[in-house]
Symmetry: C2
Subunit: 335 residues, 2 copies
């Protein structure tokens, strides 16, 4: 029996944020498995801001997706056939399975093996996936939050930010979300336990001092750009800046200009550090277990924003760039 | 007997680099000592790029020098009279004694007590003073150089940079100086043991790859600005950037614009950190002892550029900004 595989492939190379017209939906037969391969049936496709960097022809930590290739994406799926000794039929996996119904994979595509008893499969694709892992590891390793400090998070209601806020609160910090709407801000207060929020569409430089009366000790930055410029001026001496994302900057070619930050870094003795979750794969299972325990205990709230059609994936990605998601954006392909 | 004290005071507040016309020489009687005070006769006045920040009305780690006040400066001097139980007549001290012949001080003005047997008094004001201490501590704490890595130093022939280069070489690193003239570059190779130099007045972006064929692991930045912009693009993944100075930027009001660096920091997982030596006073004696041992063993070369007239101090500071010094700039007032 031949399986038909619907795939979203890259049709043309975007400059800046990819839009639906840069992709197309194609259907191809799933080929027979070669030795060492397995076949995954995708259940949840991940929609991540990092995907802009996967399709732009810019400096990044991986080479861009080729034109005509399936869009690079993480997904949670179930193995339905295997010619690989390391992978069993029926296993659930989280890995680089792309925006498609099925993926012929090899073990190097696997980021983590998923235990459906540990948490929902949607959580496996978000809170126990790169979003929660990023929040936990970057906050701990770079942010080093101490009780009583103020932790400010841009995209504070997003898939990463909403978890950062909750984890920082558990460390005894004052937590402040920067968001793009008052509705998201309200959600930050009621659902994610933030102490305050600032809507960056209003006068950020006026609102920040009120939201952060003691300054900012840890700046978990997912956005960069003009919002980050203002925040840098409110950092406390010896503050830590986690550069986790740059979602407000549509394109880095040519390099966008902004105020130089070297003097702030020097005089305030800031430590600013870039974070890429894929440097930390060896810690995924241990950290996911900690996050799963928090979820089970009701100590961590996870919010998912779930689409149900494969062909919606490109539009869902654009929604994330435009801040139209509420929590982790996923596409569910089947139950 | 009344001592006449020649003092260089701040006459007007400069925007950007202070020039001689911003200062004036005055003469005042040294007042009688109150209880708890001591009188220092200055021997070597220190000329430091950081002094721009002491007179500009900008964000800095200390409040600016008041108009009419003696110019804030470090100096090595000898105690000639004391009403302070912690300080003995005849002692040599390194501290905040200002651009003047004599300073009435209290113990909080002392940075370090100087042993004339440990090294020359000129070395006490430079290599064993904030310049060498900065080089040693910032390189060790933030740079964390490992054998085989490439360490690039801007203002590589300067009072700090020349020591950074030598210390990094002792760690087994490839060392590269960025300098403002070929003559300084030649000095870097022959005196300070650098493996290569780049003159930033020539095509920096062409010369860097040849000087740093394996990229840059540690960027010890004393200058910021356009030179640093180019260097940031050559950093290796997990590189460290020490923001020690910003001497190429004349004024930070209004904030100068430049290419945003957040994407480089993120994708290359750089760690960038500001350094101010005065956070590390508790380590000064121990580190100075290590530097003195290297000097005695002939394993560390120190270069001093010595003026001999108090009234030359403002011009000497301008020389440092214009790169006209060779090593540590000092004003010797007496032997």
């Amino acid at each position: 029996m031949t399986l038909l595989n619907r795939q979203i492939v890259l049709k043309s190379r975007p400059i800046g944020v990819p839009e639906p017209h840069h992709f197309e939906l194609v259907s191809r037969d799933v080929p027979a498995l070669a030795a060492g391969e397995f076949l995954v049936e995708n259940l949840f496709l991940s929609i991540d801001p990092a995907q802009r960097g996967y399709v732009n022809d810019e400096n990044n930590y991986v080479a861009p997706v080729a034109i005509g290739a399936v869009m690079r994406a993480l997904a949670v799926g179930r193995v339905i056939s295997s010619e690989c000794s390391q992978v069993k039929t029926g296993e659930h996996l989280y890995g680089w399975f792309g925006w498609q119904d099925y993926c012929v994979g090899r073990p190097d595509a696997i980021l983590r093996r998923v235990d459906p008893q540990q948490a929902s499969l949607a959580a496996a694709a978000g809170t126990l996936g790169i979003n929660g892992l990023t929040a936990f590891i970057a906050l701990q390793d770079i942010g080093k939050p101490r009780a009583g400090e103020t932790v400010l998070v841009t995209a504070g209601a997003g898939a990463v930010g909403s978890i950062v806020g909750q984890l920082a609160k558990r460390c005894g910090c004052r937590t402040v979300a920067v968001v793009g709407s008052d509705a998201k801000g309200a959600q930050c207060l009621t659902e994610f336990g933030y102490d305050a929020f600032v809507n960056h569409h209003h006068a950020l430089s006026d609102a920040l001092p009120a939201a952060c009366p003691g300054g900012i000790d840890v700046f978990f930055d997912n956005v960069a750009g003009e919002v980050a410029d203002v925040i840098m001026g409110r950092m406390n001496p010896f503050g830590r800046v986690i550069q986790c994302g740059t979602v407000s900057i549509a394109s880095w070619v040519p390099p966008p200009q902004g105020p130089r930050i070297q003097r702030e870094i020097l005089t305030r003795r800031l430590r600013m550090e870039g974070f890429v979750i894929f440097d930390h794969v060896a810690r995924f299972d241990a950290v996911a277990a900690e996050l799963a325990a928090l979820l089970k205990a009701g100590a961590l709230l996870t919010r998912e924003d779930i689409e149900t059609q494969l062909e919606r994936a490109p539009a869902a990605l654009l929604d994330v760039y435009n801040g139209r998601n509420v929590g982790k954006k996923l596409v569910r392909l089947r139950d």
